[in-house]
């Protein structure tokens, strides 16, 4: 399985590794959401605008999230995320509990954490213009010219 991402230009003129997915909302529709691929994030976390778009009644998380900005108490929702793979020919769904922040400034973009990326080999290669998750029958090789 190969889930491709891309390098997206952000508001500060920096390009960052992003994998775009869909999240199932409270009405059964899929919402488009870009995820920053963050190798340092333990958990996948939805941004505040995405949380609003999902129209869920979230519950306060018993666990907290910590980072450079301090510690916040997120909310959690039980939902699904889906990503396309094999150049769009397939779709993979992840079901589970995911955290979300409620403050807009806490996260400008949802974050794909190691609860998802840890299931795959992750390639983030800016010079080579590659962002992808590899699993199952897909492998990578490191070569020297």
């Amino acid at each position: 399985m190969q889930i491709n991402g891309e390098w997206l230009l952000c508001d500060d003129n920096i390009i960052r590794p992003v994998i775009r997915g869909h999240i199932l909302d409270g009405h059964g529709a899929w919402i488009h959401a870009p995820f920053l691929v963050d190798t340092g994030a333990d958990r996948t976390v939805f941004s505040a605008p995405v949380l609003v778009a999902l129209s869920f009644q979230p519950t306060l998380s018993p666990e907290r999230l910590g980072g450079v900005g301090g510690i916040v108490t997120p909310v959690v929702i039980e939902t699904q995320m889906r990503f396309r793979h094999e150049a769009g020919r397939g779709t993979v769904v992840f079901r589970g509990q995911f955290a979300a922040v409620t403050e807009r400034e806490a996260l400008d973009m949802s974050v794909l954490g190691r609860d998802i990326t840890g299931l795959f080999a992750l390639i983030i290669d800016q010079p080579g213009n590659v962002v992808c998750l590899l699993g199952q029958r897909h492998r990578y090789a490191i070569e020297q010219e």
Binding site: L9, D11, N13, H32, V50, R64, L65, G67, V93
Partner: protein
Amino acid sequence: MTDHHPPIIMEEVTDPVELAKAQAQWERCDRNTAWLQAHASEIYPRYRGKCICIASEELFVADMPEEVLALAKAAHPEDDGFFLHYIPREKVARIYAN
């Protein structure tokens, strides 16, 4: 957060109808993303601190996500590939790790 986290279940979608619907939605998502990337240098500096939403390759801007979603959905109710985003007030180096 601790490691006592409910497991995440991964499943492959095999229903051809669902796959076709997802593919059609992806095409709308791709168009809106490409439009934002093409206009990023104009939009990001102009709308700091605002929520933006791109639907059918049209920009909508509001203070709150609820407002911008309402604007975009009223104008383009058919576009389920909208791109919703908050532009931070300040342009600062970011460390996301948590």
